[in-house]
Symmetry: C2
Amino acid sequence: MRMAEVSLKFDLTQDTLRYYERIGLIPPVNRNNNGIREYTEDNLRWVEFIKCMRNAGLPIEALIEYVNLFQQGDHTTQARKELLIEQREQLRLRIEEMTNTLARLDSKIENYGQGINRKEKELSRLTETEIG
Amino acid sequence: MRMAEVSLKFDLTQDTLRYYERIGLIPPVNRNNNGIREYTEDNLRWVEFIKCMRNAGLPIEALIEYVNLFQQGDHTTQARKELLIEQREQLRLRIEEMTNTLARLDSKIENYGQGINRKEKELSRLTETEIG
DNA sequence: CATTGACTTGGAGTTCACTCCAAGCGTTAA
DNA sequence: TTAACGCTTGGAGTGAACTCCAAGTCAATG
């Protein structure tokens, strides 16, 4: 599969695909006789995987390291596993924090729902009491 | 309270505090006779609130709009509520996506745990089957 | 009275993650 | 055979969100 199609398939610009490959965020894609990238199924899986992980906020640096380890072969599986465990923990923490913030927003919206508009109530929307 | 202390309290640089105020991400902070910012309790609540919302990924633009509405007074409560509801929905979606990715990481790590290292297994770590 | 330290301002600089550009090449269509 | 198309490359440009800087003010200290 060529860039144009991959670009459409994953909604990433061709420039972004080239950029990801250039910085090692996805492994190199083989070229045909004319030097044109031909994405294999494996390449496509990498693109999808990286897009998913980036969307979840995993740092580019960590993902580049993961790709590097992958390319070094089977003796890096332990290191890769540790990397994933670390990133999972970071992600878990981010989700936890965001879930707390979501609850705080719920509470704030709830307060607006009560039709309050007095000064002290207005201010209370900013206090931490509403998340406690 | 002065900048230095606020900066320590919330782990935001003084430059960032000034920047947030400059772009309207927090309402203006009153100055004393010498032109120096004196943060009130309300100011501190705003700083904390904005930091929390930014950490959760709410867009700066939306938060500036929220602060603007707040400063326009009580007749904007409905608009503020709608803004918060919209942002809550966006946040909910982000959390959902990230939770799916977390499950995918769990599954990937699980696979590494089985001590597999054959080619086809290696590749399977990239497939979507592991999240299904 | 000079220096130090904490602040002020406007504006320039930095980093990240793309995004765009110019020049060039190989295949297809007229 | 000329043109268009889709790709190639290295490198420059962009926007967001800070981050830093220079020049200046004011109050307190030696």
